[in-house]
Symmetry: C5
Subunit: 94 residues, 5 copies
């Protein structure tokens, strides 16, 4: 899974029937500290994400494993809103 921040919406009228009523969100990838990267992803929302949400995105066939996305031709889904990323193991510096 990868981290992302929701920054927008993709509007589409003509689309596959299994996409009707689905929210296609534009996400900017982030690292585990929340820093935004130069990479963008379009994913279907399965958890009520909104503008600015810090989310987790799952790719591939796993993107179809939510109620919202089953049978839909989508390869990315937002399947969790992130509260916090806790770094518990500190790597000693050399």
């Amino acid at each position: 899974m990868i981290f992302g921040k929701v920054i927008g919406t993709v509007v589409s009228t003509v689309k596959d029937v299994n996409l009707n009523g689905k929210k296609l969100l534009l996400c900017r990838e982030a690292d585990h500290e929340g820093t935004l990267l130069q990479s963008y992803h379009v994913a279907v929302d399965a958890v009520g994400a909104g503008e600015g949400s810090f989310v987790l995105i799952s790719y591939g066939s796993s993107a179809r494993m939510t109620e919202e996305t089953k049978n839909a031709p989508v390869d990315a889904v937002i399947m969790a809103l992130i509260d916090d990323v806790q770094i518990t193991h500190v790597i000693p510096r050399p």
Copy 2:
């Protein structure tokens, strides 16, 4: 999913039987602002895309989840025509 612009057609006479009658389109990848990138994709059209269409492409097993592509040996499908990409969350500059 990734953004693309349809720029051409792939013509093939000898192909897998499940590809008969399918439209194989050549797409140039684009970013969320519609700027064209140096990356090209061949995808089956499932939504009536035409020359110059700004589209959304889904990869992997999800590419077989449309009526047009089920059971076909294809790993990319055009599953939506894009009307607009709305950036609703502005990242403050540092």
Copy 3:
């Protein structure tokens, strides 16, 4: 799907039983204009490709969607011979 040119054969005696009788072809990746790139792929032939054929390769689970490859542990298949790639939409230069 990606473009490739068939340049050789992979010979294997000891292999998974579902690969018996399958042709494992070495392909050099090409761009949409047929220019050869520095990237190579091994794919099972499902359409009678031969030396020098300009082909389309499908990756992932979709590679098992041909009669030739079903149930085989292969992640790439040649599923079409390319006659022509027609660029119909010209991007205006800035």
Copy 4:
């Protein structure tokens, strides 16, 4: 599969129902010698990994092949704790 070291936890309250009770771990990728790389992965734990564990991560639909992850919309799973990586074949230097 890729190597990783568990360095943290992803906390999420709002998530897909199939993720309830699952441990989402943050892993830093490592090479086969255990050297840490600049790449991070979020994976569900299926084997009782803890802070600092040296683990093996499986991606894609295979990530759903454990009891812990079946039917869950996750594309990465920790499916083994690594005791040792034994290099048995030494490549002669030129």
Copy 5:
């Protein structure tokens, strides 16, 4: 599929139940001429590969299509030992 040379073994006691008795091999990626690259892969052996074997590795859900790997949470399998790679189509130099 990609080429690799078997250079070692990954030892794991605590692992998913479907991995019991499976051989997890460390492979160094190679190109089609057998030249070793700076990329490493962990794959389950399905064909009796040993130290120094030149092998073919299949990725993704296809990695579960051998008797050895079915239902196992693994995303890479060694599914063929390579005898030879024959380059039959010579690209004329410009």
